[in-house]
Symmetry: none
Subunit: 395 residues, 2 copies
Amino acid sequence: MSNQGIEAFDSKVCGVCGDIALGYNFNAVTCESCKAFFRRNALKVKTFHCPFQEKCNLTAVTRRFCQKCRLEKCFLIGMKKELILSPEEKEIKRRKIMANKSVESKPCCDLIRNETKIDSATAQTNFNHFSFTYSLPNTITSIIYKAVELEFEPCSVTRTSVSNELTSTELERLDELINANEDFFAPISIETLLVGHIKDIITLTAIAVRRLIKMSKLISAFKNMCQDDQMALLKGGCTELMILRSVMTYDPNKNTWKIPYSKKEIKDLKIDVLKEAKSNIYDEHQQFLRTFNEEWRTNQNIMLLLSAIILFSPERPKIIHRDVVKLEQNSYYYLLRRYLESIYPGCKARSTFLKLIQKVSELHQINENHIKFFLDFNPHDIEPLLIEIFDLKMH
Amino acid sequence: MSNQGIEAFDSKVCGVCGDIALGYNFNAVTCESCKAFFRRNALKVKTFHCPFQEKCNLTAVTRRFCQKCRLEKCFLIGMKKELILSPEEKEIKRRKIMANKSVESKPCCDLIRNETKIDSATAQTNFNHFSFTYSLPNTITSIIYKAVELEFEPCSVTRTSVSNELTSTELERLDELINANEDFFAPISIETLLVGHIKDIITLTAIAVRRLIKMSKLISAFKNMCQDDQMALLKGGCTELMILRSVMTYDPNKNTWKIPYSKKEIKDLKIDVLKEAKSNIYDEHQQFLRTFNEEWRTNQNIMLLLSAIILFSPERPKIIHRDVVKLEQNSYYYLLRRYLESIYPGCKARSTFLKLIQKVSELHQINENHIKFFLDFNPHDIEPLLIEIFDLKMH
DNA sequence: CGCTGTTCACATAGTTCA
DNA sequence: TGAACTATGTGAACAGCG
Ligand SMILES: [Zn+2]
Ligand SMILES: [Zn+2]
Ligand SMILES: [Zn+2]
Ligand SMILES: [Zn+2]
């Protein structure tokens, strides 16, 4: 690809695949190939299938391997198929061009040109009388234009005050998350004792999972789902949600997690405990933590929206109403985008949104390995709840 | 052919002053100067006065003598001030350009580029497992994005969804539709005679269109729109509305439409008559009919709400107050969602909502790609009817 | 032969300056 | 005011790949 331009342009990167972008295409910054791809496929009725798990990471190299995920990402970053010209519009455009062409080929007839000269001559006669008629709106057209203007005025006034503030509907939705989250970070001391060992992870996970379920049930979109789907979402999303949570309490200086041990005391849990695991999850996890921008980590709203996005992942196994889950997830993606626009200037909002999407994608990747983490333990050491959630009963 | 040449030449002449034109500007073929003139003056509130009799002959020479007549003519030949970028839009555009400029000068931060490189490496590992997960249909995916927008876009009614029961205001709105619809399915025998031929479609369409217009005028939201928009909505929507209507009377067993011929007698019209049409409109239409779930087809409330949604389509050509139309449409979308929630459990309501939106979209596609093209059903055909109903005097 | 990605043509916005 | 200009974002078309 034309990737050699190492002097990467922050705002000139394709939102889909990361290749070099020239500008906006169908309402999002994309490379030329993704533009063509979108034009060719966005309107197709045929459904693509992902050869993997519907979470392909898209790059200039990998983009062509999975049409499903590519198209999905196109929509996710805001490409709009309405901006693709319909056959009808194309036809109109084609005719216009043809008309132009045929004109240029014929250096012909100044018939009309002559006419205009005549017009200008007759017009001169108009100048003979110089009366000042008051311009009453007597033609139908002027009545219409006036009516239009009158009706448009108040409309456009309210329109111009388009700020990026969240609307009440949007705020409501965000507040719901904040409320649901309220006692997620309550002290845990009563419930348990940490020993600075990898088993702490299991202990903490158990607590967190319990709180997570409680929290989910406070989200109306979740509560309205059928029982089967609720269970499937929790099972499928648990690990990822835990990892995301761990980002929130991560202390990059000490390389520890801050655990609210009691009301006063905050205890540090070294993330080194992950090294004890047999599978190699330490590096991956730490990489994820370290690359998680401080600015995002510490913004509760962002983290909550990400949590919701991850909770409502339609690609989890055994989901029945995938369309509904995806709808909810997209609502939260939309909210995230809107929230970012409300706190950052347009340009930064957009790039942050793209980076956060990227983070969600990375999280999906990590999940694969982490899920095996618990398999290394003796089932007797693990609470029944975790066994149920993580489907560990196979041993 | 030579005719075209002249027409083509015509198209290179400014519609306002007859000067040489380069192409379309603000929706009409004009010269550069009229383009600039329009941009500068079309949005001004101040009214110009004609120094003559408001019938100035505009030429390349005289055009600058009378702003009043020049602007008038601009509108007359179809120039649209909506196409002038608002200050806000200009600002956005300016920013985009600035961003581009600054990017080219600064060979900065290859942060994202680096990340994507890592990604492409990890993505490779994905190829190890090759499972085939179930994918959502392509069509639904893009519908979901639309649904999200619908959820957060403003609408003309207040959204207070405490319970799933419809509020009294919502019920009122629905009742209005039911009342307006009342005599849509009245017998038609007095008016005409069916011959079992494709001409029947045309006959029936004429009757239906007339009723449709009557019905529309009973909807207060419609009545309150300006007359231009009323006409534009009907012109643009009647085909789709007719097709939707045909769904209501479709009999899937006999593959016929039930036509209320007289009070007692219901006559079947085989939909095979469509085969006589030029193109694959038969297949398209039948496909649409067959995939229209029985449960929705037979629910009058759903069908009426869909009708309203289709009627208030802001993307019709020549709409002036698109915002207003959109607002009304959103309200009906919202009402549909609320209605579904009142009759179905959460998951099913949401899912049905999506599928209905999809139907609306399909209908639009059928109209765009097939009817307009192949059947040559020119919306102008209903012009006489519209004029009759609106009692417009055209001169 | 269908999908991909590059390169090009074109229409039509705004901008600038005499 | 208007001629000359730039910028943006559409589609078309072609060449290469599998
Ligand atoms: Zn791309
Ligand atoms: Zn994929
Ligand atoms: Zn002109
Ligand atoms: Zn005049």
